[in-house]
């Protein structure tokens, strides 16, 4: 993927997220969403190393992964606005957004829950004689979940083509990573017998190159690998944090990281005219996405129990009929 394409994806994620914040604050999107602002280089760099048939599992902070894996941005916007044209027909929203046809096995509201799902998909790839890989994205908070370790062990003993991508943004909500985790993340992963690499998660090309090497090794039968991306979120844990005054990090710290904004890092490698052209086309895409979402229908309330069972079973209502 060229520098321009990398920048375009990152810019799309950034502007998507900025719009989402506005829409949540305006109550046009229900609930809260977890923005990916500051971390764009990770999803973009890793997915640049992937093919369409590769699988990813994502997190509560999933919009970036889903965009980078190629999901349709207007349909994502429609999903977040709760419209029937949304990727998940308004049943998933931000935390469950998915496009299974693109190998996106879902954002996930439960920390570390995507790990075994990715491993199962990787195993299925091997059974099919394919060299596809599965990437499991998770945060620094997930490294203390048992299921992640159970899964890394299983991927290790069965040599599954899984790339475990840890987005170390320094915090799990308000809890600092150094306070939460004993020892080093890459050493933990290495103990499962897999290659474990740390990379600058604010430089999309560094991420792409590191992920590319690990993905290539996994495709060639080298088994699982672990990539720790050092990154930072420029905004709150979720949209609502802005008004909560949690005070777990300083404005100076945020400002220091903003100097290494991954979009600025990559834009500096492009000429200004190219950047301006990409920025304009991203605005156009997002305007189109929002217009599409707003024009799309809301679901019929009579359909609230649809899509629960593949067999067509319809669950009972909460009142006797």
């Amino acid at each position: 993927m060229s520098a321009a394409d990398l920048y375009r994806t990152m810019r799309t994620i950034r502007r998507f997220e900025e719009q989402i914040v506005t829409l949540v604050n305006a109550n046009e999107i229900a609930g809260v969403t977890h923005e990916y602002i500051g971390q764009e280089a990770v999803a973009t760099g890793v997915c640049a190393a992937l093919r369409d048939d590769d699988v990813i599992t994502s997190t509560h902070r999933g919009h970036g992964h889903v965009i980078a894996k190629g999901a349709d941005v207007p349909r994502m916007m429609a999903e977040l606005l709760g419209r029937t044209t949304g990727l998940n027909r308004a049943r998933g929203g931000s935390m469950h957004i998915a496009d299974v046809s693109l190998g996106i096995y879902g954002a996930n509201g439960i920390v570390a829950a995507g790990a075994p799902i990715a491993a199962g998909a990787a195993w299925a790839g091997l059974q099919a004689g394919s060299d596809r890989v599965a990437v499991c994205f998770f945060g620094d908070g997930a490294v203390n979940q048992g299921v992640l370790h159970e899964t890394m062990n299983m991927a290790g003993i069965w040599r599954l083509p899984v790339l475990f991508v840890c987005e170390n943004n320094g915090y799990a909500v308000s809890f600092a990573q150094e306070q939460a985790t004993a020892g080093s993340l890459v050493e933990r992963a290495a103990a499962y017998g897999m290659a474990a690499v740390r990379v600058d998660g604010m430089d999309v090309e560094a991420v792409r190159d590191a992920a590319g090497a690990l993905v290539a090794a996994a495709r060639a039968g080298g088994g699982p690998a672990f990539l720790e991306c050092e990154t930072y979120r420029f905004v709150g844990h979720h949209t609502a944090e802005a008004t909560m005054g949690l005070g777990y990090r300083s404005d100076e710290e945020i400002a220091r990281w903003r100097e290494r904004d991954p979009l600025l890092v990559e834009a500096a490698r492009l000429d200004a005219a190219a950047v301006a052209e990409i920025d304009a086309s991203v605005e156009e895409l997002l305007e189109r996405a929002l217009a599409f979402a707003r024009e799309s229908p809301r679901p019929e309330v009579s359909s609230a129990r649809d899509y629960v069972y593949a067999s067509g079973l319809v669950p009972r209502e909460g009142v006797a009929v």
């Binding site: 075994p116 199962g120 790839g125 059974q127 299921v147 299983m154 079973l313």
Partner: protein, 341 residues
């Protein structure tokens, strides 16, 4: 036609489905050696990638099955102990069972979770004696608790073929039971109950291994009792599937008998019997001549000493008393038929 034990019927169903459909595979602890007897010989016959021994990592291998299912497989996950389902509740209930809804119908998750030996087993104490099927029904996960060998065969086949997650409980106390299983036996649909014995006075809903107890009680009560009391004609209805429940089958039976007793091996609080009785009270009130009763497990963990264990489990004596008590209310037999008309 072969008369076989419940456990053999499970093994045969699994092998038949694995031969029929190459996407079916098993994963769990000690399944190659077949500690639980359902997978015996299959690793040698079908290979190590169809019968996969896992590390002791219930959350991970349960979630793994979902990933494989999304990628086109039909996993069967075996749990060595019923209580292990507590450790896997998250990947079953919160991930696999919600995935279709959460994605607006994008994918199916055809995983079967099987516990070959659920419920109390005399002396295994508190952590190995649970029967948590109501927990899955409460969460809307398809849940099957077959009582007999033929039902175990047909329902296991259906569970594996079903495109949704299904939790399959094979009660330990039923595993030794024998029944004819036809050579060409096929699937038995989920959600359809079975009337094991028809009767006119009282409907007994019994689940899993308790069906056998219900049938014994029905037999006893069919004869005049020692004090010359009238025989009671008991209908034994086995829902077989806990979720979705065969409400139509229940209604058909209760509308004829006018009386209901539920025999259930889950705890009293929020157990399956509570749901059956509540639904009957709301939806079949016009047909009931006596208040419904339920005989359940006590609301307590199972203690070790066998007499303490037995004291907390639903018993035949409790069932017989409950049936007599409801039968004593209102007209019976021909009179009842008239009353209903």
């Amino acid at each position: 036609m072969a008369r076989m034990r419940y456990q053999q019927a499970l093994a045969r169903a699994l092998r038949d489905e694995m031969l029929r459909d190459p996407s079916v595979f098993v994963l769990g602890e000690d399944v190659r050696a077949s500690l639980r007897g359902v997978t015996r010989g299959l690793a040698a016959e079908l290979g190590d990638q169809r019968i996969i021994d896992t590390p002791i990592s219930e959350q991970a291998f349960t979630g793994f099955a979902m990933g494989a299912a999304l990628a086109g497989h039909r996993p069967v996950v075996e749990f060595q102990i019923p209580s292990l389902l507590f450790t896997a509740y998250e990947p079953i209930v919160n991930q696999a069972a919600k995935f279709r809804l959460m994605t607006g119908g994008q994918a199916k998750v055809p995983v079967t979770y099987v516990v070959p030996g659920s419920g109390a087993r005399m002396g295994l104490a508190a952590q190995h004696s649970d029967h948590p099927y109501a927990m899955f029904a409460q969460a809307g996960v398809k849940t099957v608790v077959p009582a007999t060998a033929a039902d175990a065969y047909g329902l296991f086949v259906s569970a594996i073929r079903d495109d949704d997650p299904v939790v399959f409980f094979a009660p330990a106390a039923a595993l030794g039971g024998r029944e004819e299983v036809a050579d060409d036996a096929g699937p038995i649909p989920l959600g359809v109950g079975r009337v094991h014995r028809s009767g006119d006075d009282v409907t007994v809903v019994a689940i899993g291994h308790l069906v056998r107890d219900a049938l014994k009680v029905a037999e006893e009560l069919a004869a005049p009792d020692a004090d010359g009391g009238d025989p009671i004609s008991v209908e034994v209805f086995d829902p077989r599937t806990i979720y979705p429940f065969d409400w139509a089958g229940l209604a058909a039976s209760v509308r004829r008998t006018g009386r209901l007793v539920v025999l259930d091996d889950t705890n009293r609080s929020c157990g399956l019997a509570a749901e059956v009785v509540a639904t009957a009270a709301e939806e079949l009130a016009d047909a009931l001549v006596a208040p419904p009763r339920r005989i359940t497990r006590a609301d307590a963990p199972i203690p070790f000493a066998v007499e303490l264990e037995v004291a907390l489990l639903p018993s035949r004596a409790q069932l017989a008393d409950a049936v007599r008590s409801v039968a004593a209310i209102g007209p019976r037999g021909a009179l009842a038929q008239e009353a209903v008309r």
